[in-house]
Amino acid sequence: MPPSQCFPGFALLALDRAAHHSIASRSLLALPHTPRFSTSAPRYGPPPRKGMVAPPKRGTKTLNVKKGKSSPSRDTTKRPAPGDRKALRKRIVLSNNNALEVPTLQDLHKDTVLSGENEGLVKGLPEDVVDALRAVEAFKPTQGWRLFRRPAILMRKETTLLAALFREVEGTANGQAKMTVRKVLIGERMSGKSTMLLQGLTMAFMRDWVVVNLPDAKDITIAHTEYAPLPGSQPTQYTQDIYTANLLSQIAKANQSILGNLPVTTNHSLPIPLPSKSTLKQLAELAITNPEASWPIFVALWKELTQPGRPPIMLAIDNLSHIMRNSEYLSADVKPIHAHDLALVRHFVDRLAGKTPLPNGGMILAATSGSNAPTSPALDFSIQVAEARQLNPESIPQWNPYKNVDQRVMECLKDVGVLKVAGLTKAEARSIMEYYAASGMLRAQVTEPFVTEKWSLAGMGNIGELERVSVRLRV
């Protein structure tokens, strides 16, 4: 670019002077030759490439709509810490400060919990039982405990049946073999099977039984916890150390008053030393610090509990169909492991099948689930058979010979009894709705037509639906 085309700037004179040494000392106004401001380059140069615009002036605000790392629209809020979301999802809320205290609500009492007089009444759960139930994860996040001031249960017809079974177990005369009740709770979705299980656990806690509750069979079989083959088992069984350790800590916490008073009587060959004169609670708590030894500890604890003179045992599981099929675990030769090959499940299933009875008596209770139940044709069929056996023994259904049968499941449920959790009667519905109204959660007069309406809307007294239409659904 020739200098003659350019417009010289005054301010640059001093700089340009350096180029012209000969005149620099004499003339301040000598014309410079180097251009400092020119529009020619952009005018004659190639057009600017797209996306290569000059950056904005410092301090000006610009609209930045670019996607990507530095764009301001990116969500910069703090993420919840690992485990926070799950904790929120699994949170159990057992009280509602906005609900009214029900003055007529009476707590269950140890002496009367098994009596038939409670039928049709809503009863409160004593605080220590609530703590124990919470420790064994008997409350489920989907249940409506968070709606009321404190946990209370309706003693329905099925509860009375269950209580009668408890009385039978406890009433076995000395010298006779102690009775073991084995029941599967069945019923429609939201008919209160898990709550019935909770009621069973409540009775067991109040009658000073030892309670072992597997809160959800799904957790055992969906392969979310560590597993390892049990050495020396034929065919191979698999132990789940972390899960078992957690279960043992739950057992120790929930039954602390009973286990704390029972001493260890036999010598167990445990991989870790057990202090002498320790109690069963200490034995169970040993697993918390040594999860790798949790299975031998569980076996030892069970052996202790089945010694003569020990309290009856309540063994319960929810969501039964998950353990009546193949688990998600894989064996060493990449074959699915049947749930019954998991040591803990095997332990439960053997008792449910009646293969190993409980010497001190007790109850094995399993609840099916209506909402999260993988198909298990053998379980469905066994339940049908058990129902038919109770109702009309003349016509027992036959297995379709063209279908594959899971023989182990059939074997296990061969002679198990079922307890059908059906809809509430209108009297029971009225009782619980009066409790809803007294809690201030149902703002209506509980009259006969109102109860009938809601009872019908709830599919003939399905308690989950009844709660939904009368408490949860506010119109």
């Binding site: 979310h224 560590e226 597993y227 894989l330 060493a332 990449v334």
Partner: protein, 125 residues
């Protein structure tokens, strides 16, 4: 950090993911390896026992993965090329090898069909 097969992995990495970072291990092979050592599908590296890490290392060092496998694949392609076969030439040109049309849609071939297939690999510690 846990070292497996010469690479460091943070504790919170899934074992499945760890295995599948290696050239030559995909979903099936990782499932097989994990089942063999009784590692559950959602296991994280931090949760592995020391013995399991050693077993994994031993298993991986006996397998043809990473650079060994890359070399084998590259050698196979180079052999085709050196013999002057059509397949070798197509590989060298980065074009489809098995008679596909080349008018459109040959991005996969462009991406994969090279003499140095699989790249140079990661650098081991």
């Amino acid at each position: 950090m846990v070292q497996v097969f010469g690479f460091n992995f943070p504790e919170q990495t899934l074992v499945k993911r760890l295995l599948e970072t290696f050239y030559g291990i995909g979903p099936k092979v990782s499932q097989r390896i994990m089942a063999r050592y009784h590692i559950y599908p959602f296991a994280k590296v931090g949760g592995l026992k020391n013995a399991q890490v050693l077993e994994l290392n031993a298993e991986l060092s006996n397998m043809k993965i990473e650079n060994d496998l890359r070399r084998e694949v590259q050698d196979n392609i180079r052999r085709l090329k050196d013999m002057g076969t059509y397949r070798g030439r197509r590989h060298a040109m980065g074009l489809p090898v098995r008679g596909q049309r080349t008018r459109t849609q040959i991005t996969t071939a462009r991406k994969l069909n090279k003499i140095e297939r699989g790249g140079l690999g990661r650098v081991q510690m």
